[in-house]
């Protein structure tokens, strides 16, 4: 679903990613762990197309509508994946050259980036922001915009899932929210936008124990689906108790140096990055 091949990237001329390769299939949750400065957030921003994060080589292909194996078999032939660019729509099984797209086009294709530091936007309410975002995405996909009433119903449902007071969604985006509230609001956003693939950058940081559980359960409810994929960037094993990863990767100096199953996260927690990544 997401295939990163030999990715090199710089931030202000400093090389941060140095030949990172990773493939995430539909239905999988991958966790990326690693010490400070390993390039975890850079990877998230590169995938999200943040200005200033420059890819110097490598490719990222994204297949937003993965074909189910059984459907492909029934049709007698696999659709030939061919990279396409510049559209908010992708056919079933169609692979898209992610790096050629603008950030909003990536989002319209179903890529969601959960921010480590969600941004405050004074004067724009969450409701207004999310309705614009959802309808922009729907428009790019050729769908009709959602009416105000239907949108509020959806927002109420997703806020409830994350146990967030609907009143908070009437307030300006992230303004005056605590660190934990911001992270919870990110997940409400994810629930409303219902992406095909989520890259979650330290969504667990700033959360208390109860909020961590609620957010973990929210991620499962929204993203645990045979058609969806998740790349979970985290420092700690704790979130992985709730969102159980299929694969765990250790990122060090801009490359993946070790991969394994969920047991690798436990080993990292007890032994530390240095011992495991060496």
């Amino acid at each position: 679903m997401l295939e990163i091949t030999n990715l090199h990237a710089t931030v202000g001329r400093a090389p941060i990613l140095n030949g990172l390769s990773l493939a995430v299939n539909a239905g999988e949750v991958h966790a990326i762990m690693g010490p400070n400065g390993a390039g975890k957030s850079t990877l998230a921003y590169v995938l999200g197309g943040r200005p200033g994060y420059e890819v110097t080589s490598g490719t990222v292909t994204f297949t937003p509508n993965p074909a189910h194996a059984e459907l492909v078999e029934a049709s007698g032939a696999a659709p030939a994946p061919r990279p396409s660019t510049g559209s908010g729509r992708a056919e079933v099984g169609e692979a898209v050259d992610l790096l050629s797209l603008d950030p909003h086009e990536r989002a319209a294709l179903g890529l969601f980036l959960g921010f480590q530091y969600p941004v405050e936007i004074p004067g724009v309410s969450n409701v207004q922001f999310l309705r614009e975002a959802l309808n922009a995405q729907r428009k790019a996909r050729g769908a009709e915009p959602l009416s105000g009433g239907d949108f509020l119903k959806l927002a109420r449902e997703k806020a409830g899932l994350l146990r967030m007071d609907m009143e908070m969604l009437k307030r300006p985006v992230n303004v005056g929210f605590s660190g934990g509230e911001k992270k919870r609001a990110e997940m409400v956003q994810m629930g409303i936008l219902d992406p095909a693939f989520a890259v979650l950058d330290e969504t667990d940081s700033g959360l208390d124990i109860d909020a961590l559980r609620i957010v973990g359960e929210g991620i499962n409810a929204i993203m645990r689906n045979p058609d969806k994929g998740v790349l979970l960037i985290t420092h700690y094993q704790r979130l992985l108790d709730y969102v159980r990863p299929d694969f765990v990767h250790v990122l060090s100096k801009g490359r993946i140096v070790k991969s394994g199953g969920p047991e690798l996260a436990v080993q990292l927690e007890s032994e530390g990055y240095e011992a495991v990544a060496a």
């Binding site: 200005p51 603008d102 989002a107 004067g123 614009e132 959802l134 922009a136």
Partner: protein, 248 residues
């Protein structure tokens, strides 16, 4: 009016001298005079777009306990100026909200002179300027507190948002105070678009032109929050945002 103002005159300091030479003196003599009776409240909204460019001058006299509200958006593509002179009697209030918005090379400006002639009058002015190209937006706000006008409370708030290098904004508060028990607040800030907010919006699927419109709307909305009529508020905001269409 016998003399032609130049940019050496304080009130015309940031005006466009070429446009001024064409417009003045004819338009300088035209003042719209409005008098509010004691206790009277009146609100007026002005959209100064390409149908109403040039110099507009309003003189308001507000009687005791009266309330005058004026909201204006200047979006014309050539030199446009709104001059407002206000005289406040005892306990009267003047509310002003203004937005200058536009690109090209034009100057758009608000020049207010608020005379707190008697005690306990209040005034509140909020101006937002959004410009690009080599355009200029100005707010010159003079407050005169007359002798004995105790309990005066006057506030001015200006913010400029420059979308491109080359655009400019000028803010000049001017206070003349001849009383002791007086509050006169003024603030000014000029900045650029918040790039991180734009990126955050893009990351949620909002195209750049829509993101810019939302951010500019949020920025200028402060100028019209005091306007109670929401339909009128919407009209002013939309008139201002229409001008964004040709922004780079």
């Amino acid at each position: 009016m016998t003399y032609l103002p130049t940019t050496r005159d304080e009130e015309w300091r940031y005006a466009d001298p070429v446009a001024l030479a064409e417009l003045a003196p004819a338009s300088l003599d035209v003042w719209k005079e409005i008098t509010l009776a004691p206790g009277e409240t009146r609100a007026k909204c002005l959209i100064l777009d390409d149908d109403y460019p040039g110099i507009h001058r309003v003189r308001l006299t507000v009687g005791e306990g009266g309330r005058a509200e004026l909201f204006a958006a200047i979006s014309a593509s050539s030199y446009t100026r709104l001059d407002v002179e206000v005289r406040l009697a005892k306990g009267a209030h003047f509310e002003f909200g203004g937005v200058t918005i536009g690109g090209g090379a034009a100057t758009r400006e608000f020049v207010t002179r608020t005379v707190h002639a008697e005690p306990e009058a209040t005034s509140h002015q909020v101006v937002r300027a959004v410009h690009w190209g080599t355009a200029t937006g100005n707010f010159l706000g003079r407050i005169d507190v007359a002798r004995g006008s105790q309990g005066t409370d006057a506030a001015q708030d200006f913010k400029g948002l420059l979308l491109e290098r080359g655009a400019s904004a000028n803010a000049k508060p001017e206070l003349e105070i001849f009383a002791d028990d007086v509050k006169c607040a003024h603030g000014a800030a000029i900045g650029q678009m918040d790039e991180m907010a734009r990126y955050y919006m893009a990351a949620r699927g909002i195209p750049p032109e829509v993101a810019r419109k939302l951010l500019v709307r949020a920025f200028i909305a402060d100028a019209f929050v005091a306007l109670e009529d929401e339909d009128e508020q919407e009209k002013l905001l939309n008139a201002a945002l229409d001008a964004l269409g040709d922004a780079a």
